[in-house]
């Protein structure tokens, strides 16, 4: 149930202001760690600003959604929703400079496939990517535990799709004035798809997002569902609760509509900067990362050796 879920308890924030505050803190923590006596001016030139981090984050959300929609075999909507929710949750408390969104993005999708019982083996998963597939697979697997840890192992995501289907059924049974609710479906789904690229899932409950989608989807067909919402959905609510719900629906709309796609030039400039200021320890292409992997392999090679010494000692005694 959503009401006692970890999503309700830990992953809903009051609004954009609070989200911006957490993201700015993650940005600041990273910079303080690596500035090594650089002046503020140098810092601004070298490191990403919170605004630049947002450009990057938003751009990768678009890339993520595109990757999912072209994925073979075709994935259910809840996998896309959960992937994006993981991605957004991750970057509330982490800087894109610390973990590159291209690595985290793929790991989010891979983990969401498992969590949503749409299991795709890693070999088949990376066939959806162009380039060195083995390298992609290694990166995904090496970031999986980090991602799970940063998500506090709270992996159940409640998406708005089920709530939306519930409202569609409810419209058919309790609001028969609307003769054919299916005619608004297209617009409702469009609204939900757009909501995936906004911070809506970090601020509102899935049912609020779904109800907003129904209301504003219907409006596109010039149908007002205000009567249904006031007299059916909110029948038992007090005036104050009803007023607040309607206010929240307007907020959902505003946040979903406020999404602005980033331009190619904007993103490229930020990417360039990121290549220099990112944490090389978390960069699978860096020397320091590769050295760590080699150390790990060597350490694994040591195990049989240790065992063998032990056995020969035992034999000797």
């Amino acid at each position: 149930m959503f009401a006692n879920s970890s999503q309700h308890k830990y992953w809903l924030f009051s609004g954009e202001t609070e989200l911006a505050k957490h993201r700015a803190e993650a940005n600041k923590t990273y910079i303080e760690h690596y500035r090594q006596g650089q002046t503020d001016e140098e810092v601004a030139k070298f490191f990403l600003t919170p605004a630049e981090e947002r450009i990057l984050g938003r751009q990768y959300e678009v890339v993520l959604r595109k990757f999912c929609s072209e994925f073979q075999p075709p994935m259910p909507k809840c996998v896309i929703g959960t992937s994006l929710a993981f991605f957004k949750r991750f970057y509330v408390f982490n800087s894109t400079m610390d973990y590159h969104p291209k690595d985290i993005m793929l790991t989010c999708v891979y983990l969401a496939c498992k969590v949503e019982e749409f299991y795709v083996p890693i070999g088949q998963f990376v066939k959806n990517l162009r380039g060195d597939r083995e390298k992609f697979a290694d990166a995904i697997l090496s970031f999986e535990l980090t991602l799970m840890g940063k998500l506090n192992y709270q992996l159940t995501v409640h998406n708005p799709f089920r709530a939306m289907e519930g409202f569609m059924i409810d419209l058919k049974t309790r609001h028969q004035e609307l003769h054919n609710p299916e005619k608004i479906r297209k617009y409702v789904e469009e609204f939900l798809d757009r909501s995936l690229l906004s911070d809506a899932c970090l601020i509102f409950s899935p049912s609020q997002i779904a109800l907003a989608a129904i209301k504003f989807g219907a409006a596109k067909e010039s149908i007002s569902l205000d009567g249904y919402i006031k007299t059916v959905v909110l029948r038992l609510a007090s005036d104050k609760e009803a007023e607040n719900t309607l206010y929240q629906l307007r907020r959902v709309k505003a946040i979903v509509k406020s999404f602005e796609p980033t331009t190619r030039e904007q993103a490229q400039a930020v990417q360039k900067k990121l290549d220099r200021c990112r944490n090389q320890e978390n960069n699978p292409d860096s020397d320091i990362y590769k050295q760590k992997a080699i150390d790990k392999l060597n350490a694994e090679d040591d195990i049989p050796a240790v065992k063998r010494t032990k056995i020969s000692q035992d034999n000797g005694s």
Binding site: S5, S6, H33, Y34, Q36, Y110, L111, K114, V115, E117, Y119, P121, I122, I140, L141, E144, L145, T146, M148, G149, K150, N152, Y153, Q154, L155, T156, N279, E281, I288, K292, D295, K296, A299, E300, D302, I303
Partner: protein, 381 residues
Amino acid sequence: MPKEEPTYPFCPDETKYEKLAKIGQGTFGEVFKARDKKGKIVVAMKKVLMENEKEGFPITALREIKILQVLKNDNIVNLLEICRAKATPHNRYRSTVYLVFEFCEHDLAGLLSNPQVRFNLAEIKKVMQQLLNGLYYIHSNKILHRDMKAANILITKTGKLKLADFGLARAFSDKLNRYTNRVVTLWYRPPELLLGERNYGPAIDLWGAGCIMAEMWTRSPIMQGNTEQHQLTLISQLCGSITADIWAGVDKLDLFNKMELPKGQKRKVKERLHGYVKDQYALDLLDKLLTLDPSRRVNSDDALNHDFFWVEPLPQDLNHMLSRHNKSMFEYLAPPRRRGPIQQQQGAPGAGPSGGPGGQGGPGGVRPAGHNPDQHFERIF
């Protein structure tokens, strides 16, 4: 300048706990008794094995985490937190994840293997009532346990029963499904799984509950097959021949024609268990739990309403009886049970579902033997 180790505020370091002893072998790793260094709370830590995992974090462990975060009930083992051991040269750069549970002193298999532990009828009722209550709760939450057996039933020193080891558990729906049938330890596996059913439901756990209930008197698993074929033979000898007359549609199951099913066997559940179980209500409930046709097998709600629980002697708390025993009893630590033939372990599917969950289920992974190899059971049937 290397950055200091990342911190996980919600995911404490494993060094927070001090391991005391190994107490078991779970579905996907070892289980340790441990103590919280600060609070001095005793916990059970289940290690998630990441070795040999080409697919990253095992999907079975992921399901167990997801499921246990939702299930909160007196009769379900309580997951306290998840903690992670950092990748350091000390652990050969392997990052390990532990599930941390509240500690329970005993498991049912351990208790039953100790002849000093005696359950009276009222206490057996309490065990079964709590067990069925746990099943009722998970089934209402649309979860199948899929690994019912005495070793997965934990009992605290005050006599509270907890269903444990959700390593094979998964969510189910009422739609047509295709789950793997390679689940449930062979001796507790219901006939529909043995015949290849992939669209199964909560009834599979109630068969296991029936096997466990009988074991409360027999003190050993009642049907110890060596192979799937052998298990079906044992089931037919106890529950009668498996035919389309008593189980509509059984002939449509994949393996119905591939397995040898003894013909002309009469159902003898009550007769054969009568040697151990004298109570008529108990025999009647056993008969309903060990029903061949899963669609007619009693569900947990109806089982809880059975007269067995509502006539004298009424269910009685176990804390008094258990207070006489101050040593932890786990199957893993139990000395071999007396007599009895040696079970084949290696290769024989008797020890657990060979290969673990496959199919749409997940990466599989090697499932450790369900029973202590030194553990011998007295044959019942």
